[in-house]
């Protein structure tokens, strides 16, 4: 899988989302590129790396947006405290960081809106509480992990099994590294190539219905349509193992992609899953243009870690 490549430089977003996210108004999209067949053009390489936390920390309750000065301080603080070169906190914490900072690529900036969380609705910036049903499912998962933590690969997480990364999407959420995406378009289709775990999501735009409810897929079943200048993608048919912050198989996910300028896509998603959450919730995560290439993350090719952790579990049973 090895590639040849020049060193690339991540483009840091300096572009404010023109207040559109905050105001909830759709930008006009005038003057932005269109494909030869007339669709709004979202194509290119994008990154959503940011150090803005997904949920608003309790310590910032009521503080929705940082001032420029606070944002600069936050960035400085975060880069220091999250620096994996730190060795403090005991050997468990040290091992938990895995390796030094050089291997991480989580971005250095808060989002252009300077919001204190990527979750924008509910207004408190927090994912709503789980329903009793979802709490039971979470408890059952925890019990299964306790009873059988590593008897076989199936006991381990989808990420460890190289099947699905919990932030790679859908919905697409920034993580520690590989926060890169390539969007390609053809008449009637949009394709999103995700670097993390190396998946391509093919989204038909022709109005066809979703797959029958018995067909369940790791990444769900996506259908798209244009709403003015915005690509709206609805995804259903998730498996009972796909888990976005406690979601269940019947999550209905709606993503909205709006190109607001040459270098920025306003990406928002709404999770509608009444079986799992006490209300629907929405996150807004700007995607900014980045230079290529996107690399293949062929996760299975050298997943020695799975063998090693199963061997470790066997050794500890002796």
């Amino acid at each position: 899988m090895m590639h040849r490549f020049a060193r690339t430089t991540m483009i840091v977003a300096g572009v404010l989302l023109a207040g559109s996210t905050l105001a909830g108004q759709a930008p006009a999209g005038r003057g932005l590129a269109r494909t030869p067949w007339g669709d709004p053009d979202l194509q290119g390489l994008w990154t959503n790396a940011t150090i803005t936390p997904f949920e608003r920390p309790a310590s910032l309750s009521g503080k929705e947006v940082l001032t420029e000065r606070e944002a600069a301080e936050y960035e400085k603080e975060a880069l220091e405290t999250r620096n994996a070169d730190n060795r403090g906190g005991g050997t468990d914490a040290d091992l938990g960081r895995a390796y030094n900072q050089f291997w991480y690529d989580r971005g250095t900036k808060v989002v252009g809106t300077r919001r204190t969380s990527l979750v924008v609705d509910p207004p408190d910036g927090r994912v709503p509480p789980l329903t009793p049903d979802a709490q039971q499912r979470a408890a059952a998962r925890a019990e299964a992990r306790r009873r059988s933590p590593a008897d076989g690969p199936e006991d381990r997480s989808l990420a460890e099994r190289c099947i699905l990364w919990p932030t790679a999407g859908p919905p697409m959420i920034p993580g520690g590294y590989n926060n890169n995406y390539q969007i390609l378009q053809a008449p009637g289709y949009v394709v999103i190539l995700t670097e993390m775990i190396h998946d391509a999501r093919i989204i038909p735009l022709d109005g066809r219905p979703h797959a029958p409810s018995g067909i369940r897929q790791w990444m769900g079943d996506s259908r798209g349509r244009w709403d003015g200048h915005t690509l709206v993608v609805t995804t259903t048919n998730f498996t009972d193992k796909t888990n976005i912050r406690g979601s269940g198989p019947n999550m209905r996910l709606v993503e909205r992609f709006t190109r607001v300028d040459a270098d920025t896509i306003d990406y928002q998603f709404t999770v509608d899953d009444p079986a799992s959450f006490t209300r629907s919730w929405t996150a807004a995560i700007p995607m900014t243009k980045t230079e290529g290439p996107i690399f293949e993350y062929a996760c299975h090719e050298g997943n020695y870690g799975m063998t090693n952790l199963l061997r470790g579990a066997r050794a500890q049973e002796k």
Binding site: M1, M2, F5, R7, T8, T9, M10, A13, G14, P53, P57, S59, K63, R69, E70, E73, Y74, E77, E80, T81, R82, D85, R87, G90, T91, D94, L95, G96, R97, A98, Y99, N100, Q101, F102, W103, Y104, D105, G107, T108, P149, A150, E160, G176, Y177, N178, F295, Y297, A298, C299, E301, G302, N303, Y304, G305, M306, N308, L309, R311, A313, A315
Partner: protein, 139 residues
Amino acid sequence: MRTLISVLAALSVVGATVPVRAHHAFAAEFDAKKPIKLEGTVTRVEWINPHAWLHIDVKRSDGTIEKWMIEGGTPNTLFRRGVNKNSLPVGTVIIVDGYQAKDGTLKGNGRDITFPDGRKLFIGSTGTGAPGDPQAPPK
């Protein structure tokens, strides 16, 4: 009304609680009670996903050679920082600071990897604009 100072104090708490995360739980694979510090010679590097592995020969005091495998992170990030397969030639002497595999075999994680003179092997190049570089120039 919150003062700037109290907001910044709150931010400090936030940053400290955010975990970093590798592809899989290193705590499941390696033993925090078995720290290792090895000086060895690189014999092979596997630039593979999800994590790169360095192979080193470690000479023990009795003259015997132990063959260790050392786990790192995704090569993708390193590629973006300008590291390539020629960056760590066979024969390079490195010092690995990490933890040994739980099963007791000769595997460890490369928590920190340095050259014998103390320079870090994998370290960001400040000011180059590389990802994660705190001095990356704004666009």
